[in-house]
């Protein structure tokens, strides 16, 4: 966890090793820094010459983002298989049947099939379409639940993914969501305004809160070189205790006359209206998230600020040489990232949990967002669908717990396994006997520059 060196300075040993591997990744960049001889002197040189070799972290990030679609599908499949093994292993019928496995192996296999298919069909019926309901309107309700769960995941995933594109790890989703929720919630319950204005104000306040909490990280990183991972983790706790204090202090966020650390319910005018009537929980936040996805796509792919974001993410040293103010870019990136994560907090407070919020309003979305962003390969469209997939896991996980008694925690396991597998394409290829791309024997670096070429 060395600090900004990873971004700004070459590690003494970094010069020769990645040169060959990186030729495809950052051809223009490494051209001006010909692989210096491995003589052990680079550390001693005061080096006013700007070093343009991309730091390793960026390349690895690019590699993760540049993998193929097939790997994503296979990773999901592998994770589901692992989840099935867990479900089967902890199922009581399976355990009983395996006691006499050698006399009647069919019983064990049948029990395994029962347990796994039961759990996964409950997962499906809880997240997409419930066949046990009569009318279509009832049957489709799980899908709207999925989208409701997906709403904050997509928003936060966009924020985390945007930071990834700039080469930053925003693990501070929890803190940013809490601050945003508190800001939006405060506006939501303490003012009396006409509905459209009230909603707009509350949303803006929340986004601003998240942006400030995130921008603080960018500012500290830019000014002092502190590592954003540590800063965001620490600020998560600071935000949590700050909000806890405010929630139990009358006059700040606590509901008047209540002993619980909980805020008053949102005013009617500030609550997101339901999209398809009161029967479904899906709310305006989903529309906002679609808009946000489009905006982030535009920002990253069509705007000059987005170009700077991507340039810094690809290689901050090269970006610096090209005249981009890397430090300011970090601040802007964290402002946007925090704002988007803040939108997730807003949608929680104004859309999902409108009856007043407590310290757990973030519901682990800040961390889930990391997995969403990784699964979506940090691209807005990808994040959108990754968010829906994980939303489906969440929605289905609860009905699976209710129907089959499989604890909802299995969903967390499957999600994190998906990300692990996606992050290691060579592992997935080895499991499925896929050929290595480019036929390189030892190098485990797949085609890195795909993302750049696609633009």
């Amino acid at each position: 966890m060395s600090d900004n060196n990873q971004q700004n300075t070459p590690a003494p040993g970094a010069a020769p090793e990645p040169a060959a591997a990186s030729a495809s990744a950052s051809a223009p960049a490494s051209a001006s820094a010909p692989a210096s001889s491995p003589a052990p002197q680079p550390a001693a040189a005061p080096a006013p010459k700007p070093d343009t070799e991309a730091p390793r972290s960026n390349k690895i990030l690019n590699e993760i983002l540049g993998g193929s679609f097939l790997i994503s599908i296979l990773a999901v499949l592998l994770a589901l298989i692992a989840g099935a093994i867990l479900i089967a292993a902890t199922n009581e019928d399976v355990q009983t049947a395996s006691g006499y496995f050698f006399s009647r192996p069919g019983d064990t296999l049948g029990a395994i099939w029962q347990a796994v298919s039961g759990a996964y069909s409950a997962l499906f019926q809880g997240s997409v379409y419930n066949f046990r309901r009569d009318s279509f309107a009832d049957g489709i309700k799980p899908l709207t639940e999925t989208l409701t769960f997906a709403t904050p995941l997509i928003a936060a995933g966009l924020g985390v993914g945007l930071a990834f594109r700039v080469g930053l790890f925003n693990i501070g989703g929890r803190g940013q969501m809490l601050i945003a929720a508190a800001c939006a919630g405060w506006v939501g319950f303490s003012f009396q305004l006409p509905a459209p204005l009230h909603i707009t104000l509350a949303v803006l306040a929340g986004i601003a809160g998240g942006a400030i909490w995130g921008g603080l990280v960018g500012f500290l990183k830019a000014r002092t070189g502190a590592h954003e991972v540590i800063l965001t983790i620490m600020l998560n706790y600071v935000a949590f205790y700050l909000i806890s204090y405010m929630l139990r202090t009358p006059g700040l966020l606590q509901a008047p006359g209540s002993p619980n650390p909980k805020s008053p319910p949102m005013a009617e005018t500030a609550v997101f209206p339901a999209l398809f009537g009161s029967k479904y929980n899906l709310h305006l936040g989903f529309i906002l998230v679609i808009v946000a996805t489009a905006l982030v796509w535009y920002l990253l792919n069509r705007s000059s600020l987005g170009f700077r974001f991507r340039a810094v993410g690809e290689n901050p040293n090269a970006a610096k040489v090209a005249g981009i103010d890397v430090k300011n870019t970090y601040v802007y990136a964290m402002l946007f990232s925090g704002g988007l994560v803040g939108l997730a907090g807003v949608s929680q407070v104004l859309g999902t949990v409108t009856g007043g919020f407590s310290g757990g309003i973030d519901a682990g979305i800040g961390f889930d967002a990391i997995t969403v962003a990784l699964l979506g390969r940090s691209k807005p469209i990808g994040i959108f669908f990754a968010g829906i997939l994980f939303g489906a896991f969440k929605a289905g996980g609860f009905s699976m717990q209710a129907a089959e008694g499989v604890p909802v925690d299995i969903v967390v396991v499957v999600q994190s396994l998906i990300v692990l597998f996606i992050a290691a394409p060579p592992l997935v290829r080895a499991i499925f006997f896929l050929p290595k791309p480019g036929g390189r024997a030892r190098r485990v670096l797949p085609n890195v520059s795909k993302e750049v070429a696609a633009k």
């Binding site: 080096a47 390793r56 991972v229 540590i230 706790y237 700050l242 204090y245 992050a423 290691a424």
Partner: protein, 432 residues
Amino acid sequence: MSVTTPNTPHETVDPVDDGLEKAVVKKWKAPIAFAIFVIISALLFFVARRDGVTELRLSAENDAIKLPSIEAPVMATGIVVVILLALMTAGAFWLANQAKRIPLWLTAVFGIVFMYGFLTWAGADKSIPITGLLLGSVALSAPLIFGALGGVISERVGVVNVAIEGQLLAGAFLSAFVASITRNPFAGLLAAIVAGVLVSFVLAAFAIKYLVDQVIVGVVLNVLVAGLTSFLYSTVLSSNTEAFNTPPRLPRIPIPLLSDIPILGRVLFDQTIIIYLMYIAIALVFYGLFFTKWGLRLRAVGEHPQAADTVGIRVNSTRFWNVSIAGAIAGLGGAYFTLGSVGGFTKEMTAGAGFIALAAVIFGRWDPIRATLAALLFGFATNLQNTLGAIGSGVPSEFLLMLPYLVTIFAVAGLVGQVRGPAASGKPYIKS
């Protein structure tokens, strides 16, 4: 930190007489931090003033040697404390002006005097059990210290270990499970080590073999272990709590004579075996890192893998096995949650301790002793909040709980002192 950014004046020239021009660097951050604390204490005593007498209890009921309690009048103590702190701050400024380092003991004494003053202020007209305060601090620090030692080893060898939280949690889970089944807490200790090593294997495999970004692996591993242990807790442990989740607790083993020392004796030498293992681990890691071949190789791999490879050290296998050792130590810390204190395992019972341990690693500048001290500080801050909450002092507990994290932010932002990690930490090594 500033190898190629010439505009930052951090890098000092070694005081070797080589006839070259030397830059004299005066560091003002520490004295300024001291001054801030002086101002804080002055504000506490003279602006938010409280009157009365604070009783600081030094002995518990059943101590062999009884010490009388200290009755400290708040106002008088405040004046003395502020004057002492101001004197030390002046000394710090003088040292800084001479371009000398501020010795660690001065910082320690400063901290103790400040804490004494703060306790007196916070506990006005109440009685504060000093032994209990320290005892709880050691208890709360133990997992942090184990985690921090694991973090130090792992990062020194060049693998960022964000997965400390996962290693602690896995250690806590498996130790509770195995100790319950075998009815033997020592088997539980062994299981905790195995659990930590298993998590480390995954971290090392993904970070070293598959070159996945180490921070990502760490974060995801934490989530994975949390999910896995919660799932198994709900399905296996809760199905039969009696058989699977009632581990026997480790007995306290008072060390003869030493445990009779007033105050510190009970705090340090009347503990479970985990705490004694912790003392051994601290000493071993410190000695091993800086005085053995193993430590030299480890640090070489973490600072400059290219050079280490050139002289024939196998970089990746060194990394792999040392990350495993780190996992073993962190896993042992996880056992403290179950076998050392509470007993049974509960969902996500580590509650972010791994992240605080990570903060202690950085705050302790990747040095085992400093990291231990940082972990102790964090444990103390947490327990201070508990104690003050119990006696009903007016300080909002959330702000005390926030303190370790704020201190860490200050530390990494370079306001407390320059923080510089192992050069190759976080970078996978590909042999060319």
